[in-house]
Symmetry: C2
DNA sequence: TATGTTGATGATAGCGCAATCATTGCACTT
DNA sequence: AAGTGCAATGATTGCGCTATCATCAACATA
């Protein structure tokens, strides 16, 4: 049983329909869309008119299959709700969007196994490039990433042995420097508050530990962590439990991110602990609130947006057969010294 | 010039390769992947072994082209950096991921024209469903959305005439209720601080205006807005300029979101204005900081995550030929009354 | 005139997969 | 014994597009 073709507005419009409507061959329509400079102006206008009036939208799957170019970049991040990653994402979308790439984004929930599954999904879309987080991939995952033969950037941390390219900064060193700063301000018993405890948080903690060990002031009972995700609420809880378990001797806290730090700060205020006189609080990431809260919060500023931009640009350069200066880029960081850790002066 | 096929590890593995390797036909391999229950166990295992050892990853484009099923859901949001949308996204990813759908996300930068372009991009991926923000689409865009013949949910606000389905809440009414609450607490001269001024913010402002007009207390000089994006910093600035332009007579401020409200609150503290005694501050969205900041911040709580979940579930129901109870869902909201607006007590 | 050279257009084939229909073998019924 | 039904597997075809090569006109060069 055939239905009339005319006016059947529910039929999907294809290249051939446009070609028929404008009296040219299909390939010419394809050219009008993909390489308009190869078609004479008169024809181009004529075809474009047909495209518009039919409301033709190309089928990207057919195009990708035929050309093996997907114009898709796969991105895997561990968490959507973490502001750190959404800012990196902004950078990625900015650059990739401008370069005509779509971004296929997956959330790995901080699990290498989930990540493997998700990266499989990404690869099944034949992406032209990949941006993934960290270096904690499963063996199997590394395997098919190596096989993929597309540019890959691992972001967030500096890796000893990246799969392909790498953009990040040294979390361990940052943790180390934070402690140095606190010691320099005259704080003596420096606690540590951490949540989620992903690899990058662990590195910060190692830096913290190292710095304190060097001056003989490391005390593991000053460390309070939880595998739960970070939040302001959790920060408050951890701060309370640090105070309780140490009988309040701690006079500074390095919080592994700003949510925790804000939670600790607000909780300290409620406990009538004077920040920074009796307690220093330092965060990490330098979110906007750090600058404006009272007292303003010392934090480690890292170029999240810039990291997304950099990673994207590297991929695009490779895709355009341009060389990248270096396969490994250290974005650095900066400790923003603010009121919450300045007892001097 | 032909290269040997053997061991050429750079050749992409296809269904046929797997079929050859496991001694079955291509279609059987396809079944092992897509409808394993239709293949006998022995064959299934045999084929799976070949899949694993070859590291076969299906080509989604070919699959989509042949089956006209993409397993892709398109999502368009106005901003990646706004926590409001990332929480909605979380809900979407949660549900869509579990149901085996990929999410293709685009950022429209609050521009209907950009949105039109982006939705075009989405449609070229033949998504099976679409989640888009608000009702401000261009005529052309509405046109091809109607033509698309896939389930579409417009989220965030309640629309008079949705394209297909709609999940949101009444921003105007929420603004109205906020003012009622402030009046009930004895505040008299209520200011308004807004940024970005997208359609939903405008609706909140209309509610604010209506409530004040009803009691004869509307004064348009109490309104300070900017087209800039919201941020804590901008909130502080707007608060300062409201105070300056009204000579400090305002005794309450309705901030159109929590970033602005926090900025206003921190700025008030710096100006030594006592919140809530001399100044009430109310935000919108109820982000986590609202509950923990000192004084805690009154805000309008809306189920962002739930909205993402709901929209996703509706699409999935339609895709599974189940009916949805209603094409239009009001998620409601709740004013969280906290210290920043409670002078009484 | 013969010989390129260039630019614009078209015909054909095939990308990798799944829909569709066909085939086979086997258990069960009458 | 013949027929019926069903589960498991395969052969063929085409999804919508682009790569590739072919064609043809227009013009330049010697």
């Amino acid at each position: 049983m055939k239905t009339a073709k005319k006016r059947s507005s529910d039929k999907k419009i294809t290249l051939v329909d446009v070609a028929d409507a404008s009296g040219v061959s299909a390939i010419t329509v394809s050219r009008v869309i993909n390489q308009p400079e190869k078609v004479s102006e008169s024809l181009r206008i004529q075809v474009q008119k047909a495209i518009d009036s039919l409301g033709y939208i190309p089928n990207q799957h057919a195009s990708s299959l035929a050309s093996s170019k997907s114009k898709v970049i796969g991105v895997a991040i561990p968490s959507l709700s973490n502001i750190v990653f959404t800012e990196v994402l902004r950078g990625i979308y900015e650059v990739m969007g401008a370069a005509g790439y779509k971004v296929l984004l997956v959330d790995t929930h901080y699990s290498p196994l989930e990540e493997e599954k998700m990266i499989r999904t990404l690869l099944s879309q034949s992406p032209e490039g990949l941006i993934i987080t960290g270096g904690d991939q499963t063996k199997a995952c590394q395997n098919f990433l190596h096989k993929a033969r597309i540019p890959i950037v691992q972001i967030m941390e500096l890796l000893a042995d990246p799969i392909d390219m790498n953009v990040g900064f040294a979390h361990g060193r940052a943790g180390f420097d934070v402690v140095k700063h606190l010691l320099g301000q005259g704080y003596e018993r420096i606690g540590f508050i951490g949540a989620r405890m992903d690899p990058r948080v662990q590195q910060r903690m190692q830096g913290y530990k190292l710095a304190l060990e060097q001056v003989g002031k490391f005390d593991k009972s000053y460390i309070v962590t939880t595998p739960e995700p970070s939040s302001i609420g959790v920060g408050g809880e951890l701060f309370k439990s640090l105070m309780a378990s140490t009988n309040g001797v701690v006079d500074a806290v390095f919080c592994v991110n700003d949510d925790l730090a804000l939670g600790a700060l607000f909780e300290a205020q409620r406990m009538n602990i004077n920040v920074p006189q009796d307690m220093a609080i330092c965060g990490f990431n330098d979110i906007e609130a750090a600058e404006y809260v009272n007292p303003s919060l010392t934090s480690v500023s890292v170029g999240r947006y810039e990291m997304g931009v950099k990673a994207s640009e590297m991929i695009i350069r490779v895709l355009n057969d341009k060389s990248v200066e270096s396969k490994k880029v250290d974005m650095g960081y900066e400790i923003k010294k603010r009121a919450s850790t300045s007892r001097l002066k």
